[in-house]
């Protein structure tokens, strides 16, 4: 098992946002975290990257407990996060952004690794290659997202966590991002994908977890989740209204009637 999260509780000051999360990711897997806005997905991935200290619970990566390690140490072990909203360094060039992505690698082979990985990232995103010395601030959202992912890959991760990579992108770009996720997995990188766009995420993932109010409410194979009526009703939107059972709609109608009479 590559990543094993047990009973993780994380919060801000006294209020626990995550209340006992259990989650695993196997090597070479795509696992998705599905949940509404504010369910705790971003808190979870931040805690996994070391940006938020857990209140209790354990996080094991490659058999080693990491919940107390700083971000740099986790990066060196091969765990990287591509944060929500891209968070690229807008005033710097593509090259500088990528170099910073490899900052944690301070071993003897750092320079060689950096050069090799820059080439790999450029192979993955030819557009970055073309604009290597361009300042990132005036890139499009899609290009910035590619750079953010590229920057995340610069530390040579074996588990890449992506937080809302499709946020604010055009449908075409979203499709490209999800294709990319599969390509990365084919290269042997395990992916943990936090997404509001549940349908696309479940379509590419092997397994999925549904998070609600800081707890895992449902988990299983992505294909099963995709066809589960509960998921369909809550996360897959209007197009699946037919999945809602007859009984359910009858109950709703009854409640509506009651409410109107009251």
């Amino acid at each position: 098992m590559m990543l094993d999260v047990r009973n993780l509780c994380v919060g801000y000051s006294r209020n626990a946002v995550l209340q006992g999360i259990d989650l695993t990711v196997e090597a070479g897997e795509i696992v998705t975290l599905v949940g509404a806005n504010g369910a705790g997905k971003s808190t979870l991935v931040k805690a996994l990257a070391g940006l938020l200290p857990p209140m209790s619970g354990t996080v094991t990566f490659d058999g080693r407990r990491i919940e107390a390690l700083p971000p740099a140490e986790r990066l060196r072990m091969g765990l990287a996060l591509v944060p929500e909203g891209r968070q690229v360094f807008a005033g710097m060039t593509v090259r500088e952004n990528l170099t910073l992505g490899a900052y944690a690698d301070d071993g003897p082979a750092a320079i060689a690794n950096q050069a090799r990985r820059t080439q790999e990232v450029c192979a993955l995103f030819p557009v970055l290659q073309q604009r290597m010395d361009g300042v990132v601030g005036n890139f499009s959202g899609g290009q910035q997202q590619m750079l953010a992912i590229g920057r995340g890959l610069m530390s040579g991760p074996r588990l890449l966590i992506l937080d809302e990579p499709s946020l604010g992108l055009s449908p075409l770009m979203v499709a490209e991002i999800f294709q990319l996720v599969q390509r990365l997995r084919d290269q042997g990188i395990a992916i943990l994908l936090a997404e509001q766009n549940a349908r696309s995420a479940l379509a590419v993932a092997d397994r999925g977890y549904v998070i609600e109010n800081g707890r895992v409410t449902l988990s299983g194979l992505a294909a099963d989740l995709l066809h589960s009526p509960e998921i369909a009703a809550r996360y897959l939107g209007v197009g699946t209204a037919t999945v809602v059972s007859q009984a359910e709609s009858a109950r709703l109608a009854h409640r509506l009637q009651q409410a109107m009479q009251a």
């Binding site: 971000p71 740099a72 996060l81 968070q87 807008a90 900052y103």
Partner: protein, 634 residues
């Protein structure tokens, strides 16, 4: 023509030192978003250490200079690690600015204790004979200054643009959260930036030392020059800082030569205010704006625990009776006088509390209004025999006018820039007080001010002043306690918590801010007038920037947003030298240290802390603790 070129050369020489100090400001600002007002303290500390190493231990110039720089850097690193870096994670940028002001005061006080108040002079590095270049005389120290500045700029540029460390520093400057994600240790980088700024400041101090006279408060002058330079040029940009420094040096030299040395500062500050209105971020904008969505407007807002109305009334009654009876047990002397002074300053503090504690508008120039009130009333009384009461009212009217004019600038600004604008205003009044020597008596002050009088009654003893001030304070506190509980107070607190939300709820933000500003200006003016009448004397330094910073210290130490809390701070800082005579020389140091400590350990101040403590005590005795609502914003 030669004169002109000579001035130009002089301006560039001075300007390059300003540029060097400005670079230190800019470096810390870019990495942390804070204007480190302690920057000038590094210069003077290094210069004086260098002097002592030469004079006391007989070290050669080069060794003493390096020693001075090394010791300053060490002191800077320790200060940064103990105060600046921990503060960053809890305080808003405006509060960090005030904490930095506390650090500056602390350094000033420490230097006063170690080196005394006499001026020092250092010999130039390479002799007193100026070099002649194409008919222009250049002092050799000037060449050292320019050379050092260029070298420092080059090294800094190389570090930031070309090295791994520099990239990490820039990453922190641009987006601290993402920098952490890259595995960069952001607190360590912050400390590094702070220490690097200390190094730059120390280098500037050591090379400029022979060209200027050094005193315990010269650090403040360095800070002010550097800060004006950086505010004009653009704090977020290194080229801007350098440009601002050179510009300020040239303006100073030309203004001194063609107008008057008394007004050279006023002209520079006027320029600054124009820049603040026209382009608040300075002449040279930043390439990238720092992400300020998180911290810029955030205030660490702890719920101020207040006494329940009946308890408050009873306590206030007891306190008032106690204060009224106090003179019967006190001998008339230094202690009673200190109490009168604390009471007079409390009038200004009340206004500052309305402005800062309730409306959340930082002001570092409150003593400017004290100066306006003090000089107006005193000048009218001395020169025109105007009755003191009329003089006080005239001063308040003039302060109101000045406040309204200044609000053209301040209403557009928030947080950091507001603090800068008010600081500039205080400095401007300061330099006018020195400049208009016909009215104000110049640097040596205005003498022969009569006592305050109403009708035929003269308040010419400390005892009569004590009761006058006591009544005034009590009436004002009562008045504001009422206003704060009414819709005006709620509107102010709404503005402080979230200006945009307040506006959305229909609060007239502009009107409320203006009212709070006008009230604080008039109260400061009243306080300044009484101050002058009580001392029978007024000099610029009594109502200068040091006073403004002291007022802020008193407010924060006593407790912001508590109305009466600042009185505690005022009494503490005023009484300390009177009660403990041997400690008088430590007063400045303690006032700075207390301010810094309060920001770090007791953000609700002495009064707030005491009330909260009492509240906990009672609650644990009476009923099961009611945790609901505690720690929530009001």
């Amino acid at each position: 023509m030669t004169d002109f070129i000579q001035l130009l050369v002089g301006g560039v020489l001075t300007g390059s030192i300003y540029a060097l100090i400005a670079l230190g400001f800019s470096l810390v600002y870019r990495v942390t978003g804070v204007i480190n007002l302690a920057q000038g303290a590094f210069c003077i500390l290094a210069a004086l250490t260098c002097h002592s190493l030469q004079a006391e231990l007989g070290w050669p110039v080069w060794a003493a200079s390096l020693g001075g720089i090394a010791m300053t850097v060490a002191a800077g690193a320790i200060t940064g690690a103990l105060t600046f870096v921990p503060g960053l994670s809890r305080l808003s940028n405006a509060n960090m600015l005030m904490m930095a002001a506390g650090l500056l005061t602390m350094a000033e006080g420490g230097i006063l204790v170690l080196w005394g108040s006499q001026p020092y002079a250092l010999p130039p590095f390479s002799g007193n004979r100026p070099v002649e270049i194409a008919g222009i005389l250049v002092p050799t120290q000037g060449l050292w200054v320019v050379g050092t500045t260029l070298l420092t700029i080059a090294c800094l540029w190389y570090l930031l643009a070309r090295t791994r460390l520099g990239r990490a520093l820039r990453a922190c400057a641009e987006n601290p959260a993402a920098a952490r994600l890259m595995g960069i240790d952001v607190p360590r980088m912050t400390l590094l930036a702070f220490t690097l700024a200390a190094f730059i400041g120390a280098v500037a101090g050591v090379v400029i030392a022979p060209a200027t006279s050094l005193q315990f408060d010269t650090g403040r002058l360095f800070t002010i020059s550097g800060f004006v330079a950086v505010a004009i040029g653009g704090i977020a940009s290194f080229p801007g800082s350098i440009l601002g420094g050179l510009l300020l040096g040239l303006v100073n030299h030309f203004a001194t030569a063609y107008v008057s040395s008394l007004f050279s500062n006023a002209i520079a500050l006027g320029l600054l205010l124009v820049v603040l209105v026209w382009r608040p971020s300075g002449l040279v904008g930043a390439g990238v704006t720092r992400r300020q969505d998180v911290r810029e407007e955030a205030r660490v807002w702890k719920h101020v625990v207040r006494l329940k109305p009946p308890v408050a009334w009873i306590t206030a009654g007891i306190a008032l009776v106690g204060a009224a009876l106090l003179p019967t047990v006190l001998p008339e002397g230094a202690i009673l006088s200190s109490l009168v002074i604390a009471g007079i300053l409390f009038i200004a503090l009340l206004g500052l509390d309305i402005l800062m504690g309730y409306a959340g508008q930082v002001s570092l120039g409150q003593a400017g209004f004290m100066a306006i009130g003090g000089y107006t009333a005193a000048w009218l009384a001395v020169e025109h025999d105007v009755a003191p009461l009329l003089g006080v009212l005239a001063g308040m009217a003039l302060s109101l006018v000045c406040a309204l004019v200044l609000s053209v600038v301040t209403l557009r600004l928030r947080g950091l820039y507001l603090a800068l604008a008010t600081l500039a205003f205080g400095l401007l009044v300061d330099s006018f007080a020195i400049g208009f020597s016909d009215i104000t008596g110049g640097p040596s002050g205005l003498v022969g001010i009569p006592s305050f009088a109403v009708g035929g009654f003269e308040f010419d003893t400390p005892l009569s002043m004590y009761y006058l001030v006591l009544v005034l304070d009590a009436v004002l506190v009562l008045l504001f306690a009422g206003a704060i509980r009414a819709s005006f107070g709620r509107a102010l607190q709404a503005i402080r918590t979230d200006q945009m939300a307040a506006a959305a709820l229909g609060v007239d933000v502009v009107k409320c801010k203006l009212t709070a500003f006008a009230i604080s200006a008039m109260l400061a003016s009243l306080s300044g007038s009484l101050y002058a009448f009580f001392f029978h004397f007024l000099s610029p330094e009594m109502v200068g920037t040091a006073r403004s910073l002291e007022l802020v210290a008193m407010l924060v130490i006593g407790g912001e947003g508590t109305l009466v809390g600042p009185l505690l701070g005022g009494i503490l800082l005023t009484m300390m030298p009177a009660v403990f005579q041997p400690l008088a020389s430590y007063k400045t140091f303690f006032s700075g240290a207390l301010l810094v400590l309060c920001f770090l350990r007791l953000p609700e101040g002495l009064f707030g802390g005491a009330v909260a403590g009492l509240g906990r005590l009672f609650r644990s005795r009476q009923a099961p603790p009611a945790l609901v609502g505690e720690g929530m914003a009001p």
